[in-house]
Amino acid sequence: MSRTEKIRVALEAAFQPRVLEVIDDSESHRGHGGYQEGGESHFNVTLESDKFRGLSRIARHRAVHAALGKELVSEIHALSLTLRD
């Protein structure tokens, strides 16, 4: 499974999102720190889920980090999150 798919599967399962966009944005970081040939180093994720209701910004981000797991998070160089309830 590609990292994009892993992210998608993990977030679908944890948040049953109304909106989920996982964009591999690695190309726009070509030549910058952390860029890997073949991409899948920089991601932009937009996620809308009822599960974020009542959670602070920090708590929402932490919930996403936890759902992805330490291993996947450490493999990704940059993860930009837009999280809405």
Binding site: H32, R57, H61, R62, H65, V73, S74, A78, L79, S80
Partner: protein, 119 residues
């Protein structure tokens, strides 16, 4: 001193601290650069800690904050967030409120200008 002690001392001794890749005058990552840029533009006085210069701090701050990415902003010893959160808070005005509440001076007109430009 252990990395945790150094971090604790740094965020206690300085009202605003940005743990970043590179320095505020020479950031080495786009995300660090964005947050340092906002603070610089808003005239916020802050201490910068270059995590690339110290591997123990680089790992230590991730554990200390329970946050896997850099940059990380601290105000009055409290973790505020990384690049996404600081960007959102700048645009919503929440960062202004936090700074005001914490008694940290900044250029309100510059903050408004950022919001105007990104509206």
């Amino acid at each position: 001193m252990s990395a945790v002690d150094t971090i604790k001392q740094t965020v206690t001794a300085n009202d605003v601290v940005l743990f970043m890749k590179g320095t505020k005058t020479m950031p080495q990552c786009g995300f660090s650069s964005r947050v340092a840029g906002v603070l610089n533009y808003m005239g916020v006085e802050f201490a910068d800690v270059n995590v690339l210069a110290d591997e123990d701090i680089r790992q230590g701050i991730k554990e200390y904050s329970d946050w896997p990415t850099i940059p990380q902003l601290y105000v009055k010893g409290e973790f505020v967030g990384g690049c996404d959160i600081i960007t959102e808070m700048t645009l919503s005005g929440e960062l202004d409120q936090l700074l005001e509440k914490s008694g940290i001076s900044f250029d309100k007109a510059a903050a408004d200008k950022i919001r105007e430009t990104n509206a």
